[in-house]
């Protein structure tokens, strides 16, 4: 009763060239569609490059793109479908921890790699041996950013606003613990519901009363943009800091000089002189006529790692898992990547600041 | 003035009118009688444009109106006091009457119309500012009739105007019908009180299950045994 997705062009018809199918799944519609879009672009670029170089052992790589709307139930349906599709050798996705956690049991049971570029919930990779991620858990990013805030920005009294999702909570917790250890005081912890809260004036008014030195944001760029603008309108002047989730040109387009001076961390930075990064950016611009953001970059890397694993292991799903787990120092545009024993990654971070409307590396 | 020829009308797929042909001449009182469900109300609704005839034609002063919408038909001078009163419940009595004159242009003469209706139904005057929805059944009936009069129609259609009215008022209503007819308004009347209706009407059509089974002078029908038996309860 189910139609076959058209995106999975089955090229058995010419019978000449065999192909290898990798599934990419994320929110192509719904509230988070823009991130799904980044997944699509990043992975497609990588696959295009590989195929241009003869594919994997002469076999063409195909992407099977599936929309999960970032809804756990839809995601589980997608997962069920993918594990049964014998062509699929590995999955790049899902986007959020929610979708990834809801699908993990299905992939684990079937023995298919679920390699999420972005799910950072600490529990995700604990669900089974087939779960991988390509994002720092907040246990790693939090302390680095705390150091940036307390030492670089001289933040002794810190206010925190975090998005009320799993990522926001772990990010906040890891940050505040590290900051407290560095001797800072957390004067306010405020939350908001992503995609729902648009008005931050009461929260900002409340925070301003506490006279913090720094406002730390565990949030995405869209809400950060609103927070910055509303803060400016209210006439408050509190230095801001955030995480790699803020690294997106859109933030500057959105908030203009309201985000001037904001500090953040990132593991992908277009200003990086590394030729890998520069090539990626150039190719991306040629292909899509836009700048890649870190979501596109990490999806690009994730696909790259998946392909490399297939190159070593062939198309056996279990063998691919083992190859992936043993991969060392994969040179990606988001840094050199190795999995630890939990199939989590540790990536180096850079500190950036928005200066004159540009992301600039802080030495 | 009004000519229906072979009109068929449906509610969904239930056929309510099965080829009605009738004619009303200028300055006449014509009445429709027939038992429950015969299609009397449906005939009036079809003329008023609330229901489109499926086939057949309706001509008013030579103009085809079968394909016109209700508001357009009102503007031609046809007005209906509908079955079930259909007052605007959250408007006051006064506002309801004003609605009756919605498509009238001659604002100057409107006061006269109000006065006439208030004289006819003093109760409406007393209750000018009461919400129509809280009026008693009979009071609402008065309002519905008054509202239909407000448009100064050429053809006035009344669907059971005496329903729920006290005996004294029933007399008033029939007198009123005769009066406005004498002043030049043509009238199409439906009544359960067939005797009274036949007494004031010039001509009468008898309906049975969507068809006209009899058409004659009212006086003749009043004498007809069949009619007496079926509709007059004698």
């Amino acid at each position: 009763a189910c139609s076959q997705p058209t995106s999975s062009t089955n090229n058995e018809k010419d019978g000449v060239k065999e192909s290898i199918t990798i599934a990419v799944t994320g929110p192509l519609s719904g509230d988070y569609a823009q991130y799904g879009e980044a997944f699509r672009k990043g992975t497609a670029l990588k696959v295009k490059e590989i195929n241009a170089n003869g594919g994997i052992d002469g076999k063409e790589v195909k992407i099977l793109l599936m929309d999960d709307k970032n809804d756990p139930k839809e995601a589980a349906n997608v997962a069920q479908r993918l594990v049964e599709d014998k062509r699929v050798v590995g999955v790049v996705g899902h986007f959020s921890s929610t979708a990834s956690l809801a699908t993990a049991p299905i992939y684990q049971k079937a023995g298919l790699v679920e390699f999420s570029p972005t799910a950072s919930h600490p529990d995700f990779t604990k669900q089974g041996t087939y779960m991988f991620r390509n994002i720092n858990t907040q246990a790693i990013e939090g302390p680095i950013v705390a150091d940036m805030v307390v030492n670089k920005m001289q933040g002794k009294k810190i206010a925190v606003i975090y998005i009320n999702n799993d990522w926001g909570i772990t990010a906040k917790d890891n940050f505040t613990n590290a900051a407290k250890e560095l001797g800072a005081e957390i004067v306010a912890e405020e939350t908001f519901i992503g995609g729902q809260t648009k008005d931050f004036t009461p929260t900002l008014t409340k925070i301003n009363e506490k006279k913090p030195d720094v406002l730390f944001l565990a949030a995405f760029y869209s809400e950060t943009g609103m927070i910055a603008q509303q803060m400016k309108q209210l006439g408050y002047n509190i230095p801001m800091a955030g995480l790699s989730s803020l690294f997106n040109e859109e933030l500057i387009k959105l908030a203009g000089d309201a985000v001037e001076g904001l500090y953040l961390s990132t593991n992908f930075f277009p200003g990086d002189t590394n030729p890998l990064v520069q090539d990626f950016i150039t190719n991306f611009k040629v292909e899509y006529n836009s700048e890649p953001d870190q979501f596109a970059a990490v999806a690009y890397d994730t696909m790259g790692m998946m392909i490399e694993a297939i190159q070593t292991a062939g198309t056996d799903r279990a063998a691919i898992r083992d190859a992936l787990a043993q991969m060392k120092d994969y040179p990606g545009v988001t840094g050199n990547t190795t999995f630890n024993e939990n199939r989590d990654v540790v990536k180096s971070l850079k500190v950036l600041q928005i200066r004159d409307g540009k992301f600039t590396v802080v030495e | 003035m009004l000519v229906l020829s072979n009109v068929h009308a449906f509610y969904g797929n239930i056929q309510a009118l099965k080829g009605i042909s009738l004619e009303i001449k200028e300055k006449e009182i014509v009445t429709l009688i027939g038992s429950n469900g015969a299609g009397k109300t449906t005939t009036l609704k079809t003329i008023a444009g609330l229901l489109r005839p499926k086939t057949g034609s309706i001509q008013f002063n030579g103009e085809e109106i079968g394909n016109k919408s209700a508001p357009e038909i009102v503007k031609l001078g046809i007005s209906l006091s509908p079955e079930g009163r259909q007052v605007f419940p959250r408007m006051t009595v006064l506002e309801n009457l004003e609605m009756g004159a919605f498509s009238r242009k001659d604002k100057a003469e409107m006061n006269g119309s109000f006065e006439r209706i208030y004289a006819l139904f003093p109760r409406l005057y007393e209750r000018k500012h009461q919400a129509a929805g809280t009026l008693s059944g009979g009071e609402q009936q008065m309002l519905a009739i008054g509202r239909a009069l407000m448009s100064k129609p050429k053809l006035l259609m009344l669907d059971e105007p005496s329903l729920g009215l006290a005996p004294l008022l029933v007399e008033t209503i029939f007198q009123l019908i005769r009066e406005i007819n004498e002043q030049g308004t043509t009238i199409l009347l439906i009544e359960q009180n067939a005797r009274m209706a036949l007494m004031i009407a010039h001509r009468c059509y008898v309906l049975e299950t969507g068809k006209i089974v009899l058409a004659d002078d009212a006086k003749h029908l009043l004498e007809s045994d069949a009619v007496k038996k079926a509709y007059l309860g004698e």
């Binding site: 009763a1 189910c2 929309d67 999702n165 | -």
Partner: protein
């Protein structure tokens, strides 16, 4: 008719369906329960509810918490989840004493939001957005369900029970009282129906089954978080009821089958999927405003002819007291 359908469902999994197809069937089963339970409230009793996902959520969370923290199995968590949801149904039913139409709609909507936001913020109880992972799978009589086939039989067993209960309630003195409330609340009072009690009863029973559905869902997917119980979810359930036809039991089954599988069928459309889904929703309403099986109540011999769709009275009973 029912027997044939039942038998078909019974042997279906043996016909070698793929796990994916089974999964779709299982999801349809969950939504049949949700749809039937809401149909009791909205379709039969005429109380528009925009917060049915709340009961679903309460059921799911009750099971998740009881099983992960206290090690209870589905045999115990399911009835407890039903009861917990029913308790909240009772709680929500009480304000409906006085409220009608849009006013009731916003209260139920608000209730749904309150439940979701509480689940999102009450970290100690629900782990908030972290969700609750590792919910044990269903085990009955010491036998743990491993495959979708097992879940399939469990959910259709539950759906059958729900169907039977709803069917029997509707075709009884109680059911007649509920429908009378939908048709004309005041006239129902004049028949001696204590309308408040019956409305609360409808909410309570409806909530109970939604809670059971939630419990099953939690054990089936093993991970829940507040995102599964948004306003969209309530709307999805309501759409099932209305698409199928309010007050129609077979309609709800059909509605659930269509609306649960539609997004899957449309998957190949990618970006256009939801655009098309919106259009389909509109089109289906335009084509059959009274619902696909509107008027077919599953009554004795499928009587009550289906004619010129919902009358005016029907609408008014749902939206507000009559004023005339």
């Amino acid at each position: 008719m029912i027997t044939i359908l039942g038998l078909a469902l019974l042997v279906l999994p043996l016909a070698g369906l793929s796990s994916f197809a089974l999964r779709m069937f299982i999801m349809v089963g969950i939504y049949i329960i949700l749809g039937l339970s809401l149909n009791l409230i909205t379709g039969f009793t005429g109380q528009l509810s925009l917060g049915h996902a709340a009961f679903y959520a309460i059921g799911a969370y009750t099971s998740a918490i009881l099983s992960t923290r206290y090690g209870l199995g589905f045999g115990i968590t399911a009835p407890l989840s039903g009861l917990a949801a029913a308790f909240f149904g009772l709680l929500l039913g009480i304000p409906t004493l006085k409220l009608q139409g849009a006013y009731l709609a916003i209260v139920t909507l608000g209730f749904g939001e309150i439940v979701r936001i509480t689940a999102l913020n009450w970290m100690n109880l629900t782990r908030g957005p972290m969700g609750i992972p590792g919910i044990p799978s269903v085990s009955l009589f010491g036998y743990e369900l491993q495959s979708n086939i097992g879940y399939y039989y469990v959910i259709y067993g539950l759906a059958a029970v729900t169907l039977l209960v709803v069917f029997r309630i509707v075709n009884s003195r109680i059911g007649r009282a509920l429908m009378a409330i939908r048709e004309d609340e005041l006239a129902a009072q004049y028949m001696g129906v204590y309308t408040t009690n019956y409305k609360v009863l409808a909410f309570t029973i409806g909530a109970f089954f939604a809670g059971i559905a939630g419990s099953f869902y939690a054990h089936y997917v093993s991970y829940i978080d507040p995102q599964s119980f948004t306003f969209d979810e309530s709307i999805q359930i309501l759409s099932i009821v209305i698409l199928g036809g309010m007050g129609s039991i077979p309609g709800t089954i059909l509605g659930a089958s269509i609306l649960v599988t539609a997004p899957e069928m449309l998957r190949s459309l990618q970006d256009y999927r939801m655009v098309i889904y919106g259009l389909i929703l509109i089109l289906m309403m335009l084509i059959r405003p009274q619902g696909l099986l509107g008027g077919v109540r599953f009554g004795k011999g499928g009587k009550a002819k289906n004619d010129a769709s919902g009358s005016k009275e029907y609408n008014q009973a749902i939206w507000r007291a009559k004023s005339s």
